[in-house]
């Protein structure tokens, strides 16, 4: 059999570049196509339909008829934003060049319970130490550290330094009020400083299919204590108080859950904001970016924390506190540890 190599080459050359045949078509930017892509992504990956009591198929039936081919981008954006608002989830956002949809009612209807200016002017008074993103100070025998975000990296050596500065204290207050979250691994890194044994702090699973019950198997989430054989002072096992409010959200909510499972920890303040699902992102065909919660994180007993964690001791800042430039939640914690 004569092999005509030139002919074979010719065929391959013609075929080359045909990878486009293998690409699924997602270039349609009509309102209907964008709506379907966004709805389908949520159908496949959103993890809290049952928890929120939302029938996503019914939502499609209610919103799809509103679509019309001539609607402009803003109209489509508002329609989708309204649809996603039904999920009542701060981790669900649609981002475009002109706006981003969001649901903030989880904290807008709650007391503020935090005023950084009061902490800064009447408690820190320029005496605090900045250790990475932490602002730490000793109030007599009680150590206090404020962390406004889990988005700023901190190192083990910075935590070592902070924990050593706490060693003579009777107790520690970790204030994560108005901390909207960031990196879950940083939340775990900080919590690991307050236990000397492995603790199961929750269970997690992720949505992996379009059916309402299509999830991975539950996996235990364990908190491992930070290990430093040469220095036991970098672990703090004396009483700890975590201060929280409704704006303690996402990775901060996870941090609070980690701490909530430790025997030496008391939660004080208002219910946390929740946000227990790690968001998944995608780019829609028109360039908008959609994110939504794609996992569930629950307590070891199976209780949902998506809508917040209740404190052990509920305390609100009162009008009297505000008039006197006091932080009633911090004052309560100081007295509690004394």
């Amino acid at each position: 059999m004569k092999i005509n190599t030139g002919f074979i080459l010719l065929i391959i050359i013609i075929l080359s570049g045909c990878e486009t045949i293998a690409f699924d078509e997602y270039q349609n930017t009509s309102p209907k196509a964008i709506f379907d892509e966004a709805w389908t992504f949520a159908d496949h990956y959103y993890s809290f339909f049952d928890v929120k009591g939302v029938d996503w198929d019914s939502v499609y039936g209610a919103y799809e008829p509103v679509l019309h081919p001539d609607m402009n981008s803003i109209e489509l954006f508002d329609l989708l934003g309204g649809m996603f608002d039904l999920l009542k989830d701060g981790h669900v956002n649609l981002r475009s060049g002109f706006d981003w949809s969001r649901y903030w009612q989880w904290y807008l209807g709650a007391p503020e319970n935090f005023d950084y200016a009061v902490i800064d002017r009447h408690y820190f008074q320029d005496r605090q130490r900045f250790i990475g993103p932490f602002q730490a100070i000793l109030f007599d025998s009680i150590a206090y550290a404020y962390l406004g975000s889990f988005s700023s990296e901190f190192s083990d050596s910075q935590l070592d330094l902070m924990m050593r500065s706490f060693r003579d204290s009777k107790g520690v207050i970790i204030d994560v009020r108005n901390n909207g979250g960031g990196s879950a691994s940083l939340a775990e890194k900080l919590a690991a400083r307050f236990t000397d044994k492995v603790v199961t702090v929750g269970k997690t699973r992720f949505k992996n299919g379009p059916g309402a019950g299509e999830f991975s198997e539950w996996e235990d989430v364990q908190l491992e204590p930070y290990k430093n054989d040469s220095d036991s002072e970098v672990i703090y096992t004396k009483p700890v108080v975590v201060l929280m409010n409704r704006k303690s959200y996402s990775a901060t909510n996870s941090f609070i859950q980690y701490m909530n499972e430790l025997e030496n920890v008391t939660l004080i303040g208002d219910r946390s904001g929740g946000g227990a699902g790690t968001p998944k992102y995608t780019e829609l065909a028109n360039g908008w970016i959609l994110r939504l919660s794609s996992t569930q994180f629950v307590t070891p007993r199976g209780d949902q924390i998506e809508q917040g964690i209740f404190p052990d001791i509920k305390v609100n800042i009162t009008e009297k506190d505000k008039r006197e430039n006091k932080d009633g939640i911090l004052e309560y914690a100081l007295n509690y540890l004394r």
Binding site: L9, I12, G17, E19, S216, E283
Partner: protein
């Protein structure tokens, strides 16, 4: 650009195989040994649709380096090749993705045809390909990997073009590799799922095709070193489900310098 690229290569092949190919010259590589080491650089056009990351097709340009060796020995052609590089990709709405890749392959082929014009070798080859993509704007699922290795038949064909442009011994060659069994590993550094894929697949769910053609021309009249100019197309398709669905193509134009490290050819013709 890819259309122009294809037609450029098409015309080049047509001319070389059907016109200049009539000029017979050195038809060595039959017995004895001929060893080359290669090093060079390449420019790439890449298009990727990784539905674990997004439904969108990301395409763009980049470059890379490559190296390796090949040898003709006792009617066998063996080649080891590695390459790696970076590509700057964007979606239709300009969401940026950085893609890095590393490709390693080994080809061990046996002479199945000899004529005065052409040599054809057929045999197995094994390949490993790792690709990493980072799309910052997709935050939690911005970082995606795929690693694929496969084994299958490969073809190496070459023909002498004789002397051209006052230089002797030009060669036109082509390589084709199609793994029929492959292993796919997709570690997941994207936060939401932590779902990794480890799978052995037969051709179908995993399709990999590599094709390269080019010219080898003498670097000078006084030694056996050579230059190599080539075009390469690599295609990868993998689908396990809606999410684990990846299609990718990479077109490369490269230049290599071939160091002849051992030669003891005996012509049989």
């Amino acid at each position: 650009m890819m259309t122009y690229c294809k037609y450029f290569v098409l015309v080049l092949n047509f001319l070389m195989w059907n016109v200049a190919g009539a000029q017979l010259h050195n038809l060595g590589h039959a017995t004895g040994s001929d060893h080359y080491h290669s090093v060079g650089y390449q420019g790439n056009y890449a298009a990727t649709q990784d539905q674990k990351m997004s439904n969108q097709v990301y395409n763009g340009y980049g470059g890379g380096l490559h190296g390796g060796y090949f040898s003709y020995h006792n009617r066998k052609y063996t080649a080891f090749h590695f390459s790696g590089g970076y590509e700057y990709l964007t979606s239709p709405h300009e969401l940026i993705t950085h893609q890095a890749w590393l490709d390693i392959r080994y080809q061990h082929t046996f002479w199945i045809r000899n004529s005065t014009r052409k040599h054809i070798y057929l045999g197995p080859y094994i390949e490993g390909l790792a690709q990493m993509r980072i799309a910052d704007a997709l935050e939690n699922n911005s970082f995606n990997w795929d690693v694929m290795s496969g084994i299958g038949p490969s073809l190496h064909a070459e023909t002498s073009l004789g002397g051209l442009l006052h230089l002797p011994d030009w060669w036109l060659y082509s390589d084709l590799g199609i793994p029929v069994v492959g292993y796919t590993y997709r570690p997941n550094y994207a936060l939401p799922s932590r779902e990794s894929v480890h799978q052995f697949n037969f051709i179908g769910r995993l399709v990999r095709l590599e094709w390269q053609t080019g010219l080898k021309l003498p670097a000078s009249k006084v030694n056996s070193n050579q230059y190599q100019i080539w075009y390469r197309w690599g295609f990868l398709y993998y689908k396990d489900n809606e999410t684990q669905h990846l299609s990718a193509g990479r077109h490369s134009i490269g230049f290599s310098f071939l160091f002849n490290t051992k030669s003891s050819l005996k012509n049989e013709n």
